[in-house]
């Protein structure tokens, strides 16, 4: 499979990244090369192979429904680029 510049711009948009034309050109070329390499996976018959998401199989990791207030909530906004009255502040969201 090969990737087009248009697809690269689509993906950049999904990922919220601006790419100017030159960058899109470079990325298209590089991603195309990488995807070309990755195409080797098509050699393998995986029809009857299960997918692995995690290498160490664990199940049912659960916690009890008990409130824990040990986290200092004063710190929640300590890194906010912009804040006011206890809220994070962002440019107006228009719906």
């Amino acid at each position: 499979m090969s990737i087009t510049k248009q697809e690269v711009q689509y993906v950049a948009k999904l990922a919220r990244l601006y790419l100017d034309d030159d960058q899109a050109e470079v990325f298209t070329e590089q991603l195309d090369q990488i995807l070309g390499y990755i195409d080797q996976l098509n050699e393998i018959d995986v029809q009857n192979v299960a997918a692995t998401s995690q290498s160490i199989a664990t199940e049912n990791v659960l916690r009890d429904d008990v409130v824990d207030n040990t986290y200092d909530r004063e710190l929640s906004l300590s890194n906010a680029p912009l804040k006011e009255d206890g809220f994070f502040k962002v440019p107006k969201v228009i719906e």
Binding site: E7, L17, L31, Q33, Y37, I44, Q54, S55, N79
Partner: protein, 489 residues
């Protein structure tokens, strides 16, 4: 011999005998950092005063007790993607340049409980994405053995700092070889424990199903001590293993008689540097002499590991890095027309090009219409790679390979060719995909004086066997005792 040249277990003995104080040791390391870091750039943040304070605190404990933890009072460095409360944690990125975590990662809590002394936060490839440390927003780290060469990556600062004796031990993280490969490049011991051994809580994620924290040390004994300190179940990390943690120092036996060491033919391929091959073959001979049994094993899907890795790791990363949007923490662009523009500009200005490339790749392989062809297929091949290891480990106790196909390459050599850069991780990636543990130990030098790494991989949760094998080799060699000479000091 200067204090900074000593290993952790040697310093611990001296502290026990009250021959030296933690403060003296710490000052010596801080001084060493001052002298060398202009050249090496291992550190993003040096914690002079806090380190001295911690050392003084450790000294109080040391003076009042003969039985304190091996890490008490020991200066160590932390890769700058492990969260440290109140201390900026940048992940090597501009986007987290001003980020100060309000909490400690679980491993940091463990180290603090033992009164270890954190001297600083170590440089790394941006978001651990790189094999050469050249993608860091805070500048490239140099290899202490040759400043023209890369230290390896992504934990380049962690490897270089221990190699150059800027700290006694350090923590790094390994997603596709990011501990073992730089350890090999810098001639130190670097261990990636089994996935789930060390809590990831507080480790800033690159690829959650592959990331694992591990230690860099000057020798195998220190590696075992560090593992004892950082391993163990953590209820805050759902993927943390509920397994008993053995005392890894019990594996320091200097006895590999009858141990089965597997050699996978797929790791001795064209493209492997002849000096690397010679050194690794010599190590195999050495193991034979030590009484180990060398067996041939096969990991037939090795050649697919890089492809699988660059699909899975980038897919997870594209999602893990979505949180850097300028709303809650980190960098936010100065001038945004509106909300959408704020997102785009913040991320475009905040991330470097390698990170963008991987976010793009990961977004692409998950996007509508491509999921089955790339992501799902990669997950299936991952199963085959895991099966390879399972089958191989039926025939052997540990698997021996080179850590990387070459010694540390030159700075700038591969920066314009991402695929070639990715292929430099070809020998380390499989262990992450399979979740197995792996260690890199020094096994020689190239003719121009660069270290060569030997990789030993073990079964799930069997770090003890690779420590045992690594220790026996180390005891029969001197490579770990050689210290790089940093020019013009």
């Amino acid at each position: 011999m200067s204090l900074y040249e000593k290993n952790l277990h040697e310093l611990h003995d001296m502290l026990k005998k009250k021959e030296v104080s933690s403060e003296e040791i710490t000052r010596e390391y801080l001084n060493r950092i001052k002298q060398t870091d202009d050249k090496l750039n291992s550190f993003i943040t040096v914690l002079d005063e806090p380190a001295i304070d911690q050392a003084k605190k450790a000294d109080k404990i040391i003076s009042s007790s003969d039985d304190f933890d091996p890490l008490t009072g020991i200066p160590l460095g932390i890769k700058d993607l492990i969260s440290t409360a109140g201390v900026r944690t940048t992940c090597g990125s501009k986007i987290l340049e001003s980020y100060i975590p309000p909490y400690d990662a679980s491993v940091i809590k463990k180290l603090k409980a033992k009164n270890a002394v954190i001297v600083g936060k170590l440089n790394m490839d941006e978001f651990a994405m790189g094999s050469s440390n050249e993608t860091s927003y805070y500048g490239t780290v140099k290899n202490p053995w040759n400043l023209e060469h890369i230290p390896g990556g992504s934990s380049g600062g962690s490897a270089a700092s221990v190699s150059a004796r800027q700290c006694c031990v350090s923590l790094g993280s390994d997603t596709g070889g990011s501990i073992r490969q730089p350890a090999g490049c810098c001639g130190v011991v670097g261990m990636k424990p089994t996935y789930g051994r060390v809590s990831r809580f507080g480790l800033i994620a690159f690829a959650s199903s592959l990331d694992q924290i591990g230690p860099f040390t000057k020798d195998v004994t220190d590696c075992a001590i560090m593992l004892n300190a950082i391993c163990g179940h953590d209820p805050s990390d759902s993927t943390s293993a509920k397994r008993d943690v053995p005392d890894f120092t019990k594996a320091l036996l200097n006895d590999v008689k009858g141990m089965k060491i597997g050699i996978p033919s797929e790791y001795f391929i064209d493209g492997i540097d002849s000096e690397v091959e010679t050194a690794v073959n010599a190590a195999i001979e050495q193991y034979k002499k030590l009484g180990a049994e060398i067996v041939e094993v096969s990991l037939p899907h090795t050649k697919y590991a890089v492809s699988v890795y660059y699909i899975i790791a980038t897919a997870e990363a594209s999602s893990n890095l979505a949180r850097y949007d300028g709303v809650k923490y980190g960098y936010r662009t100065e001038d945004a027309k509106d909300l959408s523009d704020m997102y785009f500009k913040t991320r475009t200005e905040g991330f470097g090009s390698e990170v963008k490339r991987r976010i793009m790749l990961g977004t692409y392989v998950l996007s509508s219409g491509y999921y089955d062809a790339y992501y799902l297929r990669a997950q299936k091949v991952r199963t085959l790679i895991m099966n390879d290891f399972r089958n191989a480990f039926e025939k052997c106790d540990v698997i021996l390979t080179p850590t990387a196909p070459t010694a540390a390459f030159k700075l700038g050599e591969k920066t314009s060719d991402p695929l070639q850069m990715y292929l430099s991780d070809i020998f380390t990636i499989s262990a992450n995909l399979a979740g197995t543990c792996g260690v890199s130990i020094p096994c020689g030098f190239t003719s121009n004086g660069l270290p060569i790494g030997l990789q030993l991989m073990g079964k799930h949760f069997d770090e003890s066997s690779i420590i045992k094998a690594a220790y026996a080799f180390e005891q029969s060699s001197d490579y770990h005792k050689t210290i790089p000479t940093i020019p013009n000091l």
